[in-house]
Symmetry: C2
Subunit: 335 residues, 2 copies
């Protein structure tokens, strides 16, 4: 069965293609009786609109893409969840792309998305200096909203959580518990969130005159955390507390420490970041720094549609949320 087009429907209903189009797009402009005839024809032939043709005509698709660092990270799925309803109700369709923290995959996605003439883009870019690639999109009139990325020099709207503040909060909590030697475990420092969290942490440590050891995990997941712990345990002086750049890493760290018989929190405390659902369900419930995840997504989508609506006279907005400490068992022991 070869695909049926509007022409076939028109013929079957004895009207012109223009009328079929009207039935589909502005039914109120078509006479009752005609409309019905067209609709039965559509049903009988099993006609399905061809979106490519629509888009070609419209010059733009109705897809909103969300490019995340890792779909397997609950943080991002929550962000996506937050954005979806808003996009949906605006008649858009969400496309999720996973860059896997890899610049080349991100690049490939961006190229494809540009070819698809997406309506807009929410992205957590892999590195800090990706602006040139993104600006190419904005130059081609594709609005870009940065997610979880501070109000920097970039010419885009953005939503973010104050990661420096979050880093400070986590470190302050550890200091308050009496720790005097702290390790930081986090993925590529090039990822701004990681850098900021570390910066906040470092600031507090310096103020308090505390030793800080930073480990660079290969990536921000469970395996990365486990591996970093291996390194850490090789130190002559093993720190008594670990601040992980996100909860997945923290879970990995927890596994690593437990495997080596190090008691959490008695011998080593752990604090994560994001407060994903699994954090509370971990072997030792994880302390963490909570981010308003779905709100991030929702706000980002909102900014995107605002930008689309405002057109020329749009000025970029940068929304920053404050994270919040959630203390649990993994930092419960006082020294």
């Amino acid at each position: 069965m070869t695909t049926t087009s509007m022409k076939d429907v028109a013929r079957a209903a004895g009207v012109s293609v223009g009328t079929v189009s009207n039935v589909l797009n502005r039914p109120e402009a078509v006479a009752e009786e005609t409309r019905r005839r067209v609709q039965t024809a559509i049903a009988k032939l099993g006609y399905v609109r061809n979106d490519s043709a629509r888009q070609l005509r419209a010059g733009r698709s109705r897809n909103v893409a969300i490019v995340v660092l890792d779909v397997a990270n609950p943080f991002f799925t929550d962000v996506v969840r937050g954005a979806e309803p808003l996009v949906d109700s605006a008649g858009g369709v969400v496309t999720v792309c996973d860059s896997g923290e890899d610049v080349h995959r991100e690049q490939r996605h961006l190229e494809i998305l540009e070819e698809q003439r997406v309506l807009g883009l929410l992205i957590t870019p892999v590195d800090g200096s990706s602006s040139e690639r993104l600006e190419r999109l904005t130059a081609h009139d594709i609005p870009v909203v940065l997610v979880d990325r501070g109000a920097g020099q970039h010419p885009h709207c953005s939503v973010a959580v104050d990661d420096v503040y979050g880093g400070r909060t986590a470190a302050a909590h550890l200091v308050e518990r009496g720790h005097t030697s702290i390790a930081f475990i986090g993925g590529p420092i090039a990822i701004p969130q990681v850098g900021d969290r570390l910066a906040g942490c470092r600031a507090v440590c310096e103020e308090a005159g505390i030793h800080l050891e930073a480990f660079t995990s290969v990536s921000l997941n469970v395996a990365g955390g486990r591996e970093a712990i291996e390194q850490m345990l090789g130190l002559p002086e093993v720190p008594t507390a670990v601040f992980c750049a996100n909860d997945l890493v923290a879970l990995g760290a927890l596994q690593g420490l437990t495997m080596h018989g190090v008691k959490v929190p008695e011998e080593c405390a752990i604090i994560g970041y994001d407060d994903i659902d699994f954090a509370a369900a971990a072997a030792v419930p994880l302390s963490s720094v909570r981010q308003p995840r779905s709100q991030l997504g929702r706000t980002a989508a909102q900014l995107l549609f605002d930008e689309i609506a405002e057109g020329e006279d749009h000025t970029h907005r940068n929304v920053v949320f404050q994270p919040e400490l959630v203390a649990r068992a993994s930092t419960a022991a006082a020294l």
Copy 2:
């Protein structure tokens, strides 16, 4: 800046559009010198192919859609991960859609995907009887591969894990540990996986003459598990073991039991399903039934491309994997 088309490039390079098209699609057919001229023109104008136009002409997009029950479930993200490389290397693009276990959302996604003339579809359908909606797609020449769905009556290729066997395995493990009263917690029974796991469990219980109590959680996630536990604890005789339809539910159950001061596994054992990464990292490491997740995705994608390649003389294939018991602390106590 209005979008530049092949025509603009052609003009700038002093050639015809046909030649530009050739440079893009069959560069070897174009003379070296011409090719270079066209390429500089492309670079200078910042030309980007218009995918809608391509697709319109081709009659088909290069998108492969994966429709899952829940993107936040690591099981599915792993399946997606498994499928991605294969789709990628076949020149396709993956689109992930989340049905959220909701028939209407699934339906909406299917409609949109059909309008987009996707290359093919990997789907874990919400209910068992969704075949009519899917057959509409196949009637329109869109190949569909069922994921995690047994070799039933359906006219599709499929990959699946033997869920009845998995259910039996889990139940047998509990019986072996001496439990004589077991609860099953699982989402809508209409979801075939849930039904099958329950069936396998029930069969073993009947053979062993053991009491089985089944609870229907609203959905297959952490919250669903927590809520079901509330119900279960209301029973006059509280079961001594719980078999959860997936690990998220099991994590929820673990939270629920812990909240009510019920010790796991001493007072109540738990076994989950899927063996997601978080299962091992839980407060009490969860026993589970492991599925070859990424292999499911990879095989599904393979079947899809096989079907596309074989065309007319394709016969559907149903691949079934065997799951595997992973015993951990949550079922460690003997009675």
